[in-house]
Symmetry: none
Subunit: 422 residues, 2 copies
Amino acid sequence: MAAMNPAFETAEIIAVGSELLTAHRIDSNSLFLTGVLNELGLTVRMKHVVGDQTADLRAILRTALSRSDVVIVTGGLGPTDDDLTRNAVADELGCPLIEVPEILARISEQFSRRGVPMPAINRRQAQVITGARWLANANGTAPGQLIETDGRIVVLLPGPPRELQPMFEADVVPAIATRTGGRRLRRRVVKTTGRSESQIEELAQPVYSQFVRQVPAIDTTILASPGLVELHLSCSGSDERVLDAALDAGVAQLQGALGDVAFSVDGRPIEEVVGRALHARGWRVAAAESCTGGLLMQRLTDVAGSSAWVQGGVVAYANEVKVEALGVNPRDIESHGAVSIPVARAMAEGVRTRFGADIGVSITGIAGPAGGSAEKPVGTVVIAVASDRCDVREFRFPGDRAMVRSFSVSAALDMLRRHVTA
Amino acid sequence: MAAMNPAFETAEIIAVGSELLTAHRIDSNSLFLTGVLNELGLTVRMKHVVGDQTADLRAILRTALSRSDVVIVTGGLGPTDDDLTRNAVADELGCPLIEVPEILARISEQFSRRGVPMPAINRRQAQVITGARWLANANGTAPGQLIETDGRIVVLLPGPPRELQPMFEADVVPAIATRTGGRRLRRRVVKTTGRSESQIEELAQPVYSQFVRQVPAIDTTILASPGLVELHLSCSGSDERVLDAALDAGVAQLQGALGDVAFSVDGRPIEEVVGRALHARGWRVAAAESCTGGLLMQRLTDVAGSSAWVQGGVVAYANEVKVEALGVNPRDIESHGAVSIPVARAMAEGVRTRFGADIGVSITGIAGPAGGSAEKPVGTVVIAVASDRCDVREFRFPGDRAMVRSFSVSAALDMLRRHVTA
């Protein structure tokens, strides 16, 4: 009979717990749940966090059930007074709680296995909403609950991730999977660098604005952070091959419009793209950094296996280090300044030679807040990449210290990428 | 007339953006906003995330306005088609948008200062809800908006934290502060390193368990991340001097119980504590890193003004760099391994001497996933600090690559702190 119901499309997640409404804690369970729900072809329509307040939870639950097919409530299943999810959901659905002897026996046994008598307050964890299926908890005392109501599903899950995740995979996924009408959602991410969000939008919008009109339609979202603009494509339907083919074609069209500012279409970060390109050429890289203070090396070595292509680097914060460790000519620093094309070039060539690397990269700049001048304001950064030839570029980055450092590293990784793949 | 209204008590936060409903992104702005709202004496009642869907945003906004005094909407103020917050809120409040010439002029000027013409799509960022006060954005193009409606406040803020945070502090906090009836919440953070969460709990619990019984009562929360355990104290009431005095006494008691594992009680991170201690002694530091790949240097140079105490550093990923750039004896590497006490010591002493620094610090270890052995498994890290004397310690850190790197840097900063202040 389930096949008669319309297929599930949307889910909504409600995290319960006053501690999630402080400045220190965040609901991270929803990331895991969203990933699994998306793979099942469901879109997460909204997420909510409510405190330990029955009225608030009931209000959110009511509106969630009015618009979403699957409503997942996490947390508030513990044994204490402020664990009110069981009661609030039972009241909202108009189904009383009943004690299940089998659950009570399991909880008592879990305690006696630890040599502890079951505290009386844990008894309420054996209460289940009438008509619900209870879900065994292998890693804790609180069972989950799954209720079908008016063709929708409400799921109650314990808050701790190590209890929630296996329970969701084992008992909830199969229950939802029979109700998705075979729908699946597939995704692609096109990553770009070296252009602003609006510049990418101008290049890509004429392409992706057509995506919503085709069959299957592709949704596109733009995400920007300093030095990185991503286009997220998603497409849902029943035939994964059709979805993948549509996404492949869409990605290819975007690549055509974006050219070489698109550096990755398979999720890889630029430091991994650079690493693989270096590795393919058999090159090892060395870096000389000033204002970025090690951030470039850190990104390069974030990639597992990077010891195969990273030789090492120098953080040359003081000018005497630029001279002593990298062989920069002190007269170049005197006449052009430490943030200048000749010094950047000498740093890249110096670190390449002295570290026995195939390619050297350097960053010298003014990250701020102090150190700027009229001629070279905060945000002025010079980057060089040297192999048997040398590329040098001067940039003027916006933002504060952290942003200038972040932009600088992205630009250096992009210059490296272009140099190595040229 | 504002004094006639009842004091504000509750706030609700709505984050807008389909990207926040994926498995990869989380709304972290609400943590910052919650912290500041709590200091103003407001409780955050609920948090929501909605996608780029006008109907969904309007539905949540409607219910939020029915129950909370302050409603903060973040994100969706960008220039693109899917940035719909301006229009959705205007429609829900029944107040049309109007273009403000002054904002348009500011946005054009921001582009021309970067030597770029303003893209046509940015024009919509100059639209403001009738009756709203617009809030200048020092770090981006999207202005914020603040609307008073029926004795409540609705605030629209741009999504990027570096735009949202200063705008909230400068323009929104003063507007809310006049309406809180004088209630305040004050906080302190005691930061510790080098001990696990349960070790800190054992030392601190006898002290802070008394805090809830005193007047004014102090709430204590423990937060742990690799290499850092924080005790967050908070206290609310109407007289800030009474609150501050209670917190000062509480912090002093905790410091007594924790001893020198507590490195900061004023919010400063350990890299700043280390930096100030170096600066006070007139010392300059140089670092030699292997498995942390620049992360230590990056932390040291994250502090504004760090060029006064950071000389520079070497990332010695390859063994030949350890030999050539740092003067490590290749026979030490051969007989003891690159991750060993003699090599760590030689790296710290080498970088100190070669970089002309007063103090050298080194990290050599196995961050994984590969490179471990039975004798030296993944997580084995040796750290040395050398001035006219040398401290060396071997650690065995738990966790994956990122965690081992993070623990290593925390431990190195702590060894530096103890060496410099000894």
